[in-house]
Every structure is written in C-alpha cells, then in structure tokens.
Symmetry: C2
Subunit: 375 residues, 2 copies
C-alpha cells in the first residue's frame, strides 16, 4: 500500500498550526520542520555527521549553484547529490530561480525560460521550466521546486500580475515535464509549486488557486521576507495557507527569525528554510535558549558559562561563551564551526518544541510565553 | 614514588631512533610524537573532540599569541589554557621567541629581554626570560619553552655566536626563575631549553653542552628548517642529539615534512611540531597514505575514491576526493575541516607506525620502504 506523501496528524485547537509527517524514500520528515541550507552541497561549516547528531531531518540544496558546480556531468557521475555528499536523509532543492533573478544585470527572460550569465565565470546559460526539472532529476532531490520568476520588493501591481502569469505558465510546464519523466536514482521525487503575487492579496489568492489546480505534491510561498513589514509577511502567509488544501504541505521559503517561524506555524506553515542560523553564526550572532547575542561583545570576555546547555549539543555544553568569543576575536575557523552547530541546533530545537507543543495541545501558550521571555 | 618525566623504553638497533614515554599529570605521551599546532588555543579547523578522536596525545599553544589574546588576565580567570579551551591532555607552549623575532621592524633586544610591538594593534610589550616563564605558569602548559633569540638564515658566524651567548644567558635566567616559582593550577610543569647555533657545528655543539649543564627537563633544537638545505638540517640535528643525554627528550622545533620526521627520528629526535599539516590542508594539499596531492587538480573532478581509508578517520573514509575537491573549488569551510582532519590524522598515523616499527625492531626497513613508495 502506498503511503500518502503528506500525513496530517493533528491540528492545534487554537491556531492554524499543524503536526504532520512527510514520507520520503530517504526518511520521514516530521513537520513543522526547519531545513538547514546546504546551497553548494554542504551546510556551511558543518559535517554531515554533525547534522545527523543535531538530528536534521532534511537539508536544502540549490539547483542554480549545483548546476554550475560541480555541474550536471559530475552529479550524474556520482549518481546524484545524496551519494556525492554522503547524505542519507531527504534533500529539497530550490529551483535556482531566486538566484538567477538576483543576477539583475545578467539575465534575459522570455516565455520559454531565462538566459543568464554565471556569477563565477560569466558564461551564458539557459534555464527553462523543463531543464530545471531535468537538473533536479540528476541531483535526485527528494523534493524539487519549480522555476519561477521572483519579483523584487516593492513592485507595481501590473508588473507583479504579469510576472505571476509567466510563473504560472512555467509551473504548468514544470508539472507536465515532471509527470512525463522519471527519477534516475531509485528513490521517489516530489514536486512543489511556488506561490508568487507580491504583496497583493488578490494576486496571491488567484495564484494559489491556479497552482492548486495543477495538483502539485506541495506548495511553497515565495517572494516573502524580501524587505516588507513583518505584519504584511504574516498576512500574505495566512492568505496563501487558507487556499492550500489541508492535505498538502506548505513551505514558506527563506523565512526567518525564530519569531517568524513560530508565527508562521500559527498560520498553517509546515516547512521552513533560511540561511539566517548559519550566516549569522559566521557573523558572530548566536541564537541560544537564553536569547540571541553578538558573541564579540566585551561582556563575554570573562564568561565561563557554556554556550548553551539546553540543546543536547556536546560542543555547546562543553565550550564557554568566553572561549567562543576568543575564537571570533582571533578569526579562528573553530568559531564558525561551534557557532553554526549552536545556531542550527537551536533552530531544530525550536521546531522540536513546536511539534511537541502542538502534539499536546499547548502550542499557543508555549509560543506566547517563549517569545515573551526569549526576546 | 615519582616517575621520571621521560622514560626511554627501547632503542632501534640500526638507527638512533628511540621509543619512549613522557609522563605528565595530564597524560602520558608516547614518543616519537607529532604535536598538532594550536597557536591561539585551537588547532585550526578542528574541534578538541575531533583531536581526541584522532588520538592526538599533546598539542601546542603559543605564548606570544596567547599573551596578546585572550591575554594573561583572561587566562588567569579561566585558570589556564586547558580549562579555557577544554583540552584535557598535555599542552606544550612555545615561548613566543620565534614570533617576536619574526617582527623584524617591531622589536628591540637587550640583555634583559626584548621589547616589541603587537602585530594586532602596535601596542608595546616586553618579554624577559622571567616574564615568559610567568606567562607560561598562567597558561599552565605541561611543557614550557625558554625565551630565545632566533637567528635568521643565513647568518654570519660572529652574529650567531653573539646571539647564542645572549640566548644561553636567557636560558640560565629562565631555568632559575622556573625553579624559584611554582605551577598555579595543580599539575606539574616541565621546562625545555632551545638549542641555537645556526648552521655552525661548533656553535651548535657548545650551545648544547652549556644547555645540558643547566639540567632542563628536555632539550629542543631551534633555528632549523628556516631555509637551509635539508641535508644540513639533518646534520645539525644529528650533532645536537649526540650531545643531549639519552635520558632526556629531544624536540626538533617546526619540522617538517613526513620525510623530515622519519629522517630526524633516525637521528634521535623524540618530538615534533609543525604547521605544515594544517596550513597545507587549508591550501588544498592533502597528505594521504597514498601520497600527497593538490586536491584542486582536475583529475579529482570525477573521482569517487575515499579521501583515505587507511587512517581510521570516519570523514576520510566516508567522503570522496571528488567531493573534497568540490568543497575547495567552491571555497566551502567544510573543505578546510575535512582536509585538516585528514592531514593531522596522517601525521599522527605516521608517528604511530614509527613507534610500532621501533618497538618491533623494523624501523629502518619500514622507513626506507615507506619513503621509497610514498614519494
């Protein structure tokens, strides 16, 4: 008997939070879930072994970056990204649309796809909805994303509407090509669409409805956390999740702070990714169960307290804040490693807590009290 | 009953190689030993946990760097370097002489010590033979080194002779101050002198004899591997070890390649440190049981062989050369971590093998066949 991909297990009685499981051939993913970002086939400064220890259930890769390096030929040679990077759990790959559309001067869009120049060597490349499916077949990601046009913020209504039309036409082609092709490496792959529509409620709503009609395995919300006020992000998120069927997973892309995650869970989101924990770690911002702070601050110079004892991360329980500060002040690589372990560990801990609290019906109370004290 | 610090266990019948043990309160150190360099209180890109897994028996710290950052006040607050960096095994600290004398434009030498400007902020500092003992009492290194003047290569006979006289006078003051003071943190500390004398046999010999008269716990050979021909380094090493009593450990500072280590063991050396395995790792040069190579080479692009299966290092057995190349080509931190693990693991493996082969009387045969095939 085939299990459904997404199993909805429980709903919060007070918010729209949900508890679920994504079933993949490479392992089950409990939701709500945070997915550490491993753009180029590595979550920065962390070994795959340490990601297992932190109990990361799924990580991200990026189609744009992996297509350029190591490239499709190498990915084929290694029989996909899992085997190349020796990661035995699920992988989700973003389509690379966000990256291509960040190359402001380097791209040319048409109905058939987008031409762009590599940020590495300036060479010309072309992504179509179909080619992006093909590359993700080669990568072998458990969950692949469609190619979409990412609109900047702020953007005019007419431009967003026109862009949404193109992205929806690409989504249709993506879905058709996905259904017409097969996985290469023996495990099942799933495909998510990405909802756009800028900050316009009607465009967001129309977009989601049309996307849902194409019957994807899951639905992402794109184009948020791009500079808009936080409340607007929450509103757009709520509008989108209201129109995604309950039996499909919802993924809020590129979000966000611990507060953003909990508030978006309340609005029905199941999946998150964000570079914040790893990028901020490398800048010396540490997320802990006691709050967040800049480890370079002089207050930590003479501070023998452990980085964080609550997370069950051996290095965070072992090393002091004072030692971590020293590593940052002296630009030592170990500082990046310990801070990244801590921050990813904290994000995963936060999601574990959220799941436990949804399971026992205490999500809203816990969320409110956590955010009140944590901030 | 007090164990002696250095226990000589066995001698090679064909070379001057020796098998021994250094007994310290923080653990026994089998010799010959390679000591990974942890200049600023961290072996670059490696956690202390991974150093235990690699079975590093002792690591190095540097008095000059630690004195500047985190500084003596912080080191006192944390009750020494072991507790600060959570390292439970022995630590040897270099005096910082080499670093101070590398600051060509920034120092002023007198009979009482050396004035220098910090490479970090230009602030003025003064190191005397006595203050360097004091700082190493605060650091709490199991083995401390005396302050010495490091002469450049090449150097005129008269200059080297004059410098040797100063260093010997400093060594005497260092020993007196060491014997007049006590450890601060409850474990015993030992003190090594550092033999100088440039590339002049008679100066080397005289220096060693006078140093030995001061009865240190061990003797280092300094001022080698500074640009001289390899054969000259081996000759100077042999001259020095001939004049160090058999019951004292001999430490060749800052050396070197795998070949240098094995050839110096043949000449009676017990201890080594060198930045080569970690520094070269960060530049993409990998030392493996199959030889050394630059991991960026295109030959590794499509290469699914493990980095090295022989060392018992999980990451080296798990990840492929092709993946490691990808990490270097994309400037990913994980590349530095995996390469550093591999290279330190290789150096420690080499020393384990040397000890086993000395123990079974096959050191010379093994060394010759290893170097013939490894190169």
């Amino acid at each position: 008997m085939n299990k459904t991909f997404f199993e909805l297990k429980q709903k919060c009685p007070k918010t729209r939070a949900r508890l679920g499981v994504l079933h993949t051939d490479n392992g089950d993913i409990p939701t709500p879930i945070f997915m550490p970002v491993g753009t180029q086939g590595t979550v920065k400064a962390l070994t795959q072994e340490s990601l297992y220890e932190l109990d990361a259930k799924i990580i991200l890769g990026n189609t744009y970056h992996l297509y350029l390096r190591p490239g499709n030929e190498a990915l084929k040679f290694y029989k996909g990204l899992h085997k190349f990077m020796k990661w035995k759990r699920p992988i989700l790959t973003d389509s690379g649309g966000f990256q291509v559309f960040s190359l402001q001067e380097l791209r040319k869009i048409s109905e058939t796809g987008v031409e762009f120049k590599s940020h590495i060597d300036g060479s010309s490349h072309f992504f179509s909805p179909e080619s992006v499916v093909e590359t993700q077949r080669i990568i072998g990601s458990d969950i692949m994303m469609v190619l979409d046009e990412c609109v900047p913020y702020p953007a005019e209504y007419d431009y967003v509407k026109k862009s949404a039309k193109l992205s929806l036409s690409w989504a249709k082609k993506s879905r058709e090509h996905f259904l017409a092709t097969k996985p290469l490496w023996g495990h099942k792959q799933f495909q998510f669409a990405i909802g756009q529509g800028g900050m316009y409620e009607d465009l967001r709503r129309d977009y989601v409805r049309q996307m849902v009609d194409m019957d994807f395995d899951g639905y992402a919300i794109g184009g948020l956390s791009v500079g808009e006020p936080t409340e607007q992000m929450y509103d757009m998120t709520a509008i989108c999740t209201e129109h995604i069927p309950e039996n499909k997973p919802r993924y809020l892309m590129g979000v966000g702070t611990p507060e953003n995650l909990l508030e978006s869970i309340s609005r029905g989101i199941d999946m998150f990714d964000c570079v914040m924990p790893t990028r901020n770690a490398r800048n010396g911002q540490i997320f802990t169960t006691r709050g967040k702070f800049n480890i370079r601050n002089a207050q930590f110079k003479l501070c023998d307290d452990p980085i964080d004892e609550e997370l069950g991360i051996p290095t965070s329980a072992n090393y002091s804040l004072g030692y971590l500060r020293h590593l940052f002040v002296t630009n030592e690589i170990l500082g990046l490693q310990l801070a990244s372990l801590q921050n990813i560990g904290f994000y995963l801990w936060l999601m574990r807590n959220a799941r436990e609290k949804i399971a026992c019906g205490e999500f809203e109370t816990w969320k409110n009290s956590f955010l009140a004290t944590w901030k």
